[in-house]
């Protein structure tokens, strides 16, 4: 009793009685120590900046990308299905980008084919078999792999894979397979760490259930753990593919950048990203070529959105 009385007496007598009411001006709201308005403004502001940036990029790319069809009257259908990319001719330039769309797709798929088995394998090793050892050795290795800049991957590809291809498969050595190998190694850590996380997320009760009905370790992994991790493993692969799809520099260094349609994986090719990075510097804004490159960028964006959509659908299925 005494203490509480003493504490009350310490408080100023002129404490405003109406402090329950929010009667503050616009400026006072920001200067008042107890106001939440400042924090709220910063956080809402950051969130909206991100949203605005995404919307702005999409809008800008759409407007720029549609110029070649609307302003320059390039036929949309021949643009996405044509295989003749001849932009240097002043008289009759042709813009057929199918070779690059196909190049991007096949490099991505090949990279996924190369990376997936290794990534899932090492994820199983890390998350199921050698938990301690895997955690101590493999985890740092994977983090290092993530941290290596893409130009280094490209450079290693250029000095190791390209000569190897030249010796064993003929030609210049610059080809689609070389690009796929380089990108495959690049996406390996991404796929591995997400796959390992999704394997770890499988509840132990399922492993117990499996052992209790007389399963061996391998049967448990292949028939119970992997199927249970299923859709998140798919997410890992698709995420890796979307990284592979967007990679430009490393691919550009080893793929050969031929605008002709590749007929085998040992032919040089080009992808949407490599053709943009190679040609963009040589064009002037507003020229037909420049507009065509923007259209390639738009296609790239749309396909990236498709990847994100697939990931969303997969994760939604998981939550059901």
């Amino acid at each position: 009793m005494k203490i509480s009385k003493a504490m009350i007496s310490e408080l100023p007598d002129d404490l405003p009685k109406s402090s329950l009411l929010k009667e503050k001006g616009l400026i006072k709201r920001f200067t008042d120590r107890y106001s939440e308005s400042r924090g709220r403004t910063i956080i809402y502001g950051s969130a909206f900046t991100v949203i605005i940036a995404v919307v702005a990029i999409t809008l800008f790319l759409t407007l720029q990308g549609l110029r070649s069809f609307v302003v320059d009257h390039i036929n949309f259908w021949t643009f996405i299905t044509g295989t003749d990319w001849n932009t240097d001719q002043t008289k009759n330039p042709s813009f057929g980008a199918f070779a690059f769309i196909f190049g991007s797709m096949s490099v991505t798929l090949l990279a996924a084919l190369i990376a997936t088995p290794i990534a899932i394998g090492s994820a199983i090793f890390m998350a199921e078999l050698a938990k301690k050892w895997g955690q101590r050795i493999l985890q740092p290795v994977i983090e290092i792999l993530v941290g290596i800049p893409s130009v280094v991957y490209g450079f290693i590809g250029l000095t190791v894979i390209v000569p190897f291809m030249r010796v064993h498969f003929g030609g210049s050595g610059f080809n689609m397979l070389a690009g796929a190998i380089v990108v495959g190694v690049m996406i390996l850590p991404t796929v591995t760490s997400i796959a390992a996380d999704s394997i770890r997320a499988v509840p132990d009760s399922l492993r117990e259930a499996s052992y209790a009905i007389g399963a061996t370790k391998w049967q448990t992994i292949w028939r119970v753990v992997i199927p249970a991790a299923g859709s998140s493993l798919m997410t890992a692969i698709v995420l890796g593919m979307s990284r592979a799809f967007g990679e430009a520099l490393a691919v550009q260094m080893v793929i050969g950048n031929a605008t002709k349609f590749p007929h085998s994986i040992f032919d040089p090719a080009a992808t949407l990203t490599t053709i943009i990075t190679l040609s963009m510097g040589d064009t002037t804004t507003g020229s037909v070529i420049n507009d065509a490159l923007w259209s390639l960028g738009l296609i790239l964006l749309i396909i990236s959105y498709v990847f994100i959509l697939i990931i969303r659908l997969l994760s939604r299925r998981r939550n059901v």
């Binding site: 009760s205 492993r207 117990e208 259930a209 209790a212 009905i213 007389g214 399963a215 199927p227």
Partner: protein, 270 residues
């Protein structure tokens, strides 16, 4: 000590199921988690085609003990077992035992229903497939038989291809029992199978266990003393890692020998 106890038990027998031969005999078994001596010098018989209940307060070692009978504790790296659990003349704890084969003969059902996130029929067929049985007709027949055994057939026969995770908790637990029955084990171990279920589902499972004991040897860990009294032929009371008392359920509940047993049964601790 054990023999003495058994002699006493026989004088109290009046249930028809308590004079079955011993199938599993536990002799001086110790279980450690690292330095922690979790189960101490346990001696007890498990009788064929009867229900043996393990009761005791939380952390008394009863779950640890039941998980040793089919070597599920092998999955815990720090767990270590000493002693002898005799089953058909073989020591279950011997490192030479094929644990995979052992678990097909001694099945287990867990506290939380844990069906695989697969179809209902696949949940029952998976143990068979693991054992190398792929004949479609056999698989279908066993599925139907096992689901009928647990009384789930009528409820799910139209949706065998649907995911097992869509079933109710009680149905999932009965599915898990059906899954454990698929390989026709000798023994079924149940680790608190009804503690995650509502009273109606629990009652169904108890009824089911009374049915199953005609063909199977059942060991059940339970927190619920009434459950032990209702269904078990034999009851073992564990306290602080020791087997305090073992006897027919009737003896243990009506005339317990040890004070701690009667204290626990009367609800004075636990």
């Amino acid at each position: 000590m054990v023999v003495q106890m058994e002699n006493k038990i026989t004088s109290f027998v009046n249930s028809e199921d308590v004079d079955r031969p011993v199938l599993i005999n536990v002799e001086d078994t110790n279980i450690y988690y690292g330095d922690n001596h979790a189960v101490k010098h346990v001696n007890m018989p498990i009788h064929e085609r009867s229900i043996t209940a393990l009761i005791g307060p939380s952390g008394c070692g009863k779950s640890t003990f039941i998980r040793t009978i089919n070597r599920m504790n092998d999955l815990i790296p720090s767990a270590r077992c000493e002693g002898k659990i005799d089953y058909h003349g073989i020591n279950i704890l011997s490192p030479k035992v094929d644990v995979v084969k052992l678990r097909t003969e001694i099945g287990m059902v867990f506290q939380q229903p844990n069906p695989f996130p697969k179809s209902i029929s696949e949940n029952i067929q998976l143990p068979l497939k693991f054992a190398g049985i792929h004949n479609k007709k056999t698989l279908r027949d066993v599925t139907e038989k096992c689901l009928k055994q647990v009384g789930l057939w009528e409820e799910v026969k139209d949706r065998l291809d649907r995911s097992a995770t869509g079933l109710s908790g009680g149905q999932q637990q009965r599915l898990c029992i059906a899954r454990a029955l698929a390989l026709k084990p000798d023994v079924i171990l149940l680790d608190e199978p009804t503690s995650a279920l509502d009273p109606v589902s629990s009652a169904k499972i108890e009824e089911l266990l009374l049915q199953l004991k005609k063909d199977y040897t059942i060991v059940i860990v339970t927190h619920n003393m009434q459950q032990a009294a209702r269904i078990a032929d034999y009851t073992a009371f564990f306290y602080q890692g020791e087997l305090v008392e073992f006897g027919t359920t009737k003896t243990l509940f009506t005339m317990p020998e040890k004070k701690s047993t009667s204290d626990y049964i009367c609800g004075r601790f636990g």
